[in-house]
């Protein structure tokens, strides 16, 4: 099926290994020094973007990345991401810290998708991360689909095989390490990607240059999306606990180390 329009929803998260510390900010919970922390494209959305680009290449389709996040940080992250695969970006200048209301976020994203010039829902596939490194509820993507009137939704996708007539089959992750194989008649559909099967593409300077010609103007005319969060109340906020004990043990036999690790895992 030629001319697919693939819209990837994805934003930024703190670079892995950064120390995250929730604090109470003036507008609600926030991460300490969040603006100073280096950011990356949410890895789950990254998988979706690479799968989208791969599919678009096969069907002469077009990829849009709709990103809701602080404009300055998005610009920084695009310096890396834009070298990977060709896409056009739609920028919503707002928070991306993981503390925004899922419904409000979904509304902003769905609105931005609707406004993409020349959008043809009969050719629309909405991609996103099945989970998010900042919003692990999996709720936003589903809600965006509902708001766009897309009823064919798949979550935990690792593979999409498109047929000539536009129909496709999907492998979704289910319990017990198994896959559920589904058949769909075609677009519009929404797919929340797991890891997919593609490696991270290498940096391609030509792709970067082409992308950046559209990315910088798109950043310049980003739509302000402050997400007010009215009526939202957080009972408590915490990041997953990390435990680090540094201990130096000399000449420990391998069996002892293995036993200790096994005990720790069991505990």
């Amino acid at each position: 099926m030629k001319g697919l329009q693939i819209v990837v929803l994805g934003s930024i998260v703190p670079d892995p290994l950064q120390t995250l510390e929730p604090i109470a900010g003036p507008t609600g919970p926030a991460l300490k020094n969040e603006l100073m922390l280096p950011a990356v494209l949410d890895p789950w959305a990254g998988h979706a973007l690479y799968e989208a680009a791969s599919l678009a290449k096969k069907v002469e389709g077009k990829v849009y990345l709709v990103a809701l996040g602080p404009k300055a940080k998005l610009q920084q992250v695009m310096m890396n991401v834009a070298q990977k695969v060709p896409f056009e970006i739609v920028v919503l200048d707002g928070p991306a810290g993981g503390f925004a209301d899922a419904t409000e976020t979904a509304k902003a994203l769905a609105g931005a998708v609707e406004k993409i010039p020349g959008l043809d829902k009969s050719k629309l596939l909405v991609f996103g991360g099945w989970q998010s490194a900042s919003r692990g509820t999996g709720a936003v993507l589903q809600m965006v689909g509902e708001m766009l009137g897309i009823t064919d939704q798949f979550q935990g996708v690792d593979e999409l095989v498109l047929a000539e007539d536009g129909s496709f089959t999907v492998l979704e992750r289910i319990e017990g390490g198994c896959y559920q194989k589904s058949a769909c008649q075609g677009a519009p559909a929404l797919l929340g990607w797991a890891t997919g099967n593609l490696p991270e593409p290498p940096n391609n300077p030509q792709v970067g240059m082409q992308n950046m010609r559209l990315i910088m103007p798109a950043l310049a005319k980003a739509t302000p999306s402050p997400l007010k969060g009215e009526g939202l109340r957080y009972a408590s906020v915490e990041v997953p606990s990390q435990r680090r004990d540094t201990r130096i043990v000399k000449d420990a036999p391998v069996d002892d180390i293995a036993r200790e690790l096994a005990d720790w895992i069991r505990a």
Binding site: T19, L35, M36, Q76, D245, T246
Partner: protein, 628 residues
């Protein structure tokens, strides 16, 4: 300028079916730091008319604005590592309305102090003159917390009024400003393999291959590094940058110049404990401890945060000069520890500094290229200042390139000499660098002559100095046995070497223990193991698909090397003892790309010259902390 029919240096054989792609731009820049920030900001500002149209047209893509691309090796332009104290003359000239509030961790210098640190442990190798000075200071009751605060900060060291910055945060801010100007594109995560040269003409750069194994052999996803061809290559990749060093190898340095003096800066950013008495904007310079050759600094950022660290120079003639453990001893000096005890490490990292200053200046320009920043010899070795100088060198090149583009003149050596080099020679940068040129010569003789020499040069504004002839770095390094002569016997060293080699450990820990340095009691907050510093502080990572960027030119030389300084001095413990003998092992996932291995090798390169037996290429990855 280039002969399209001839090939550049021998092409690496590509597997069948692969072709090296080529992209043409107008200006290709290598390395994003303060110098490149100055260049790109100046260029961007001058290349566009007020109505948004370009002042000149691209030659690479006619009809388009000039195509200006900057490639940075690190995974983000903010992943530098340094606290900066600067007079900020160049920055303020570029940004007359500079608002420090816009740059995280930036503030004005409010108080500056120089501390001479005594040795509270008794393990330091202080020479007799300094030991006597220590006793005199104590006897006179002039010390507090084993430190003597100089009654004033000499003018040549003073940065007040000035600015405190985090290099990483500044780079992010400057990069954002430049990208927003819409002329230049900055691409991090893109290491450059080498300059493309036709004889002595630089015609662009070749990027590193991707999708290769650690030896550089193609694997799945192989993509040969693209050739970026351009009229001008701007080299600002710092002192350990691959392109700058390859140019030096090919072209040599101007007669009488050499880049032999180095230091490794090992640094941390720390959340200071609640109730810390240090005020925002405080600057502490230290000297005297843990070894007399090692200098230290502590800068207080806004928000009760400090950047601190030490510099271990190449003239500290120890074959086991390990920055990390020395940093921990320095932090625990009573005059420092009283401020930071109870604090928490936020980030950590290391960087090599080119300390030759004006003497290390390479050929600043040639046909098709120009050099800026630290790798072009901008660091002022008297004032210990490099940030502002680097920025200013970039600004001077920016103005010159604009002049040449508007006059439609090609980027020949002659034209660049008449524009950029002339401007640089006429600038305060050159005047101050010339005055500082011999400030550190005394350190070639010893630490006391070095300190006296610096003071002489500083107080006489360059008229006086303590003479000392430099040596190539690998020629300076003594054997472990001679360095510890009188303190540890050769038999003991042999036993320590056997034991450490069998365990795959460096020697420095055991040797320092034996020399009287106390063990570090890790607290999990500030004092952590070196490996934890990599993870918790540096957040060190390396993307797959790139070759090892540290290799050993002649492995037989490594096999018989007793010092293996590369292992002892490695800032990230990325170079490790090979328990099976032979060349050391390299783990690129631990490398912080400080480049210390370039100058911490005691064996000359097989082909002679200035360099040693370690080969250091541009690689991807490294530090992932932007707070330094």
């Amino acid at each position: 300028m280039t002969d399209e029919n001839t090939s550049p240096q021998p092409e690496g054989a590509l597997p069948e079916g692969f072709e090296r792609q080529r992209m043409d731009v107008d200006i290709a820049c290598v390395g994003f730091g303060p110098a490149m920030g100055g260049f790109l900001h100046t260029l961007s500002k001058g290349l566009m008319n007020e109505d948004g149209t370009p002042v000149v047209e691209s030659k690479a893509m006619p009809g388009m604005p000039p195509q200006v691309i900057c490639y940075e090796r690190a995974d983000d332009i903010g992943f530098g590592v340094s606290g900066v104290v600067t007079k900020g003359r160049g920055i303020r000239a570029s940004f007359p309305d500079l608002d420090l509030m816009q740059i995280p961790l930036a503030t004005e210098v409010a108080h500056e102090e120089v501390l001479y640190l005594l040795d509270p442990i008794g393990a330091s190798r202080k020479p007799l003159a300094l030991r006597l000075a220590d006793k005199a200071l104590k006897a006179l009751g002039l010390t507090k917390d084993h430190a003597y605060a100089l009654p004033y900060t000499p003018n040549f060291l003073r940065k007040e009024p000035g600015i405190l910055l985090s290099m990483g945060q500044f780079n992010q801010w400057a990069g954002g400003q430049i990208m927003g100007q819409g002329v230049a594109q900055i691409w991090p995560g893109t290491p450059v393999a080498e300059p493309i040269m036709f004889d002595q003409v630089v015609a662009g750069v070749r990027l590193q291959d991707q999708g290769v194994d650690k030896r550089g052999n193609p694997e799945a996803g192989f993509m040969p590094g693209m050739d970026i061809r351009c009229q001008l290559t701007v080299v600002g990749d710092g002192p350990v940058g691959n392109v700058g060093r390859k140019l030096d190898e090919k072209l040599g340095l101007p007669l009488g110049n050499h880049a032999r003096e180095w230091a490794v800066g090992m640094k941390m950013v720390v959340d200071l404990p609640e109730g810390c008495q240090l005020k925002e904007g405080t600057v502490l310079h230290t000297l005297g401890f843990p070894e007399p050759e090692i200098f230290g600094f502590l800068y207080v950022y806004p928000g009760n945060v400090a950047s601190l660290g030490i510099f271990v120079p190449s003239w500290y003639d120890s074959p086991v000069r390990t920055g990390y453990r020395y940093l921990q001893h320095w932090m625990q000096h009573p005059a420092i520890w009283k401020h930071i005890k109870g604090g928490r490490m936020r980030s950590w990292g290391a960087k090599s500094l080119q300390e030759s200053g004006r003497k290390g200046e390479p050929h600043l320009v040639g046909d098709g290229f120009a050099r800026i920043g630290e790798g072009s010899g901008t660091t002022n070795v008297l004032t210990g200042s490099g940030f502002d100088e680097a920025w200013t060198s970039g600004v001077l090149l920016g103005v010159s390139v604009l002049e040449l583009m508007k006059a439609d003149k090609p980027f020949t050596r002659e034209n660049l000499e008449q524009s950029y080099v002339r401007r640089r020679r006429d600038s305060w940068l050159e005047r101050e660098a010339k005055a500082a040129e011999k400030a550190r010569d005394g350190f070639q003789v010893g630490v006391v002559p070095g300190l006296i020499g610096m003071a002489l040069t500083g107080l006489s504004e360059g008229k006086l100095f303590w003479p000392g002839a430099s040596k190539k770095p690998h020629e300076r390094i003594p054997s472990i046995e001679s360095f510890f002569q009188g303190r540890i016997t050769a038999d003991e060293i042999a036993a320590i070497r056997r034991e450490c080699t069998a365990k795959g450990l460096p020697l420095h820990g055991a040797l320092m223990d034996r020399a009287g340095w106390p063990a570090i009691n890790f607290d999990g907050q500030l004092l952590v193991s070196h490996q934890d510093a990599l993870l918790m502080g540096g957040k060190v990572q390396a993307p797959p698909g790139y070759r090892d960027h540290v290799t050993f030119k002649n492995q037989n030389v490594c096999r018989t090397c007793d010092e293996k300084v590369c292992i002892e001095a490695c800032s990230g413990q990325a170079i490790a003892t090979n328990p099976e003998g032979g060349a050391p092992l390299f783990d690129r996932e631990k490398c912080v790309h400080c480049g210390a291995c370039i100058w911490n090798c005691s064996k000359p390169a097989p082909n002679g010259g200035e360099s040693a037996n370690v080969d250091f290429q541009a690689g991807a990855g490294g530090l992932h902390s932007a707070e330094n």
